[in-house]
Assembly symmetry: C2
Homo-oligomer: 344 residues x 2
């Protein structure tokens, strides 16, 4: 826990964005691989049905950080993998992620995704569902081409778990009786499982023994837990709002994220009435989001969740101790360590 | 074409429902297998998230005829297959079909499915999307357990083609410029491809040579084409309405099915204006469905489509000529031949 983190790649950059720096470092170290992955993604989302590449292109071009395929590439490279399989399976992981984003947009009735209009706002729910199905099927076609039943097992399991997590989230939404444990089950399934699978694949295609596969799986799982917890903190962050980023989506949807659960545990009866009205009944008015943020601040809920995220992040970092020192290992550890400062 | 069809199983039953008789014959001949498939379906749609078996159970219990898994079982049995793989893969095929039904309900905004309330009317679009994703993932988990990359290839390809077909259908909906060819591409992809894959699997798991696999694939493809064309005829059938079955869904949704395309080709300018208003603009009023049915009747559109369906059905029947005579072969040929009288 007292290990000193060297900020190798960030030395000459402005302070305050260590996570973004670490992610940029990772993308630079894997630039050739990622260029190939991006080309593969564009190629394989092609179809004779024009709406498919149009819609898929919209969400793929919107970009995101491609964190999941980067993890697959990085974990394979920790074992000095140089073959073509990591790129193909990284594309696969991104297709699964993109499919779930498309279906998640439908689910959440969200109008924004990554700062631009969401695919379903532009193309309709219907097209989002169907193109998501197409990308999901494409992912499995890519896996079949790769030819490893073990990879197919890992990613079909992950896909089932993700869907279960999304349904579980649906069951806990607008339910202020939801517990810490409910929340942890949801985010492990809907987010952390794919991080974990993406990492494990790096050890599978390099034929590493089960315990090393498990270590990379655990690295991804812990990183994914920290990542999602911070995502859920940022959705209430005043600083995010100041930077012009969208906040309040989870509040509007009545999602029972950990900041709310913490605030409920520490709250007064009038506060519980407030959450019942705004989250359980989704009876929301102007000023309610600000009131929610004030309650969270009163109970230090965001800081508490960030501290709990830090625990997962640190665990993730330590799991990589089995690898000899390398710039790539250091960068992955930086990503884990600084996930908690994401968005800062 | 002049081959005499023996109505073996239907001899002592009331005339007029030869398709239903043939399907019942098939189900009786495969009763043990289907009981096992149904048990497997119930077992594998289980989840610790209660909403999943609730919703999946609703659509699976609604039943349908289980035609696709019956085809997998029957085609394997044509080769005297007796092992456990056919049952597992039949369940797989039904999961893929159920997942597409769930997503199709979202897409079509339909409130009814198989005569009862559709899953999305009861549980919401959101849950239908996510439980569909879960069943789809489960299908791939079952295939991984089965362990054949060839089966995985066939069903991941079919899944991608189905999604493409659904998106293509979306692109042609409310477009009165849609052609015969557009329509045939849509139904081949969204319906016939899964029939074809379901049948091919019977020859794959019995290690039959490629040309026999292809024959069963073609049998399923032609059967599926006929099946969907008749489905689209029945949606405008006065007889169906008289029997208390839902008609007019395709009309309400502005779907460009073959009866409409035929009527447009043969139509007058005032009729084209009618279709523009009702299908392209979906500006529909009381009496419009009856008016649409009258136009279809004036141009013999339903009979024309049924005749075209008969061509596919007869092709399907003849494709089974490679097999020696058996009650099972005869029943499959009856199903193909009488598909066109379905709903009569």
């Amino acid at each position: 826990m007292t290990q000193v983190i060297s900020l190798a790649g960030a030395r000459h950059k402005p302070a305050g964005a260590p996570y973004a720096d670490a992610l940029n470092d990772l993308a630079s170290q894997l630039a050739d691989d990622m260029a190939a992955v991006n080309a593969l993604i564009v190629d394989r989302m092609g179809s004779q049905v024009p709406l498919i590449p149009q819609l898929a292109g919209h969400i793929v071009a919107a970009g995101g950080k491609r964190l999941r395929p980067l993890l697959t590439l990085a974990c394979a490279k920790l074992y000095h993998y140089t073959g073509p399989r990591a790129r193909k399976l990284a594309a696969c992981v991104e297709f699964i992620h993109t499919a779930t984003l498309l279906h998640d947009d439908v689910v959440d009735e969200s109008q924004l995704r990554r700062g631009g209009p969401s695919a379903n706002a532009l193309f309709g729910n219907t097209a989002s569902v169907l193109v998501g199905d197409f990308l999901f099927s494409r992912a499995f076609q890519l896996m079949v081409e790769d030819g490893s039943l073990e990879v197919l097992r890992i990613l079909s399991n992950a896909s089932a778990v993700i869907a279960e997590g999304e349904v579980l989230q649906l069951s806990t939404t607008q339910n202020i009786a939801a517990t810490d444990n409910d929340y942890l089950n949801v985010i492990r399934a809907k987010t952390a499982e794919l991080f974990a699978a993406a990492c494990r694949i790096g050890a599978v295609i390099t034929d590493r023994p089960e315990h090393e596969q498990q270590t990379l799986y655990d690295f991804g799982l812990n990183l994914g837990m920290a990542f999602q917890m911070i995502d859920d903190v940022l959705d209430y962050s005043a600083e995010q709002a100041r930077l012009g980023k969208t906040v309040g989506d989870d509040f509007a949807e009545g999602k029972m994220t950990l900041p709310i659960i913490v605030a409920l545990q520490r709250g007064t009866e009038p506060e519980r009435d407030f959450w019942r009205r705004t989250l359980e009944k989704r009876d929301q008015h102007a000023g309610d989001l600000a009131a929610a943020q004030a309650i969270l601040q009163r109970h230090n809920a965001l800081e508490t969740v960030a501290k709990r995220a830090q625990h997962y992040a640190t665990t993730a970092r330590h799991l990589l101790d089995i690898f000899p020192h390398s710039p790539l290992k250091q960068t992955l550890q930086n990503i884990a360590e600084f996930t908690v400062q994401r968005g800062a």
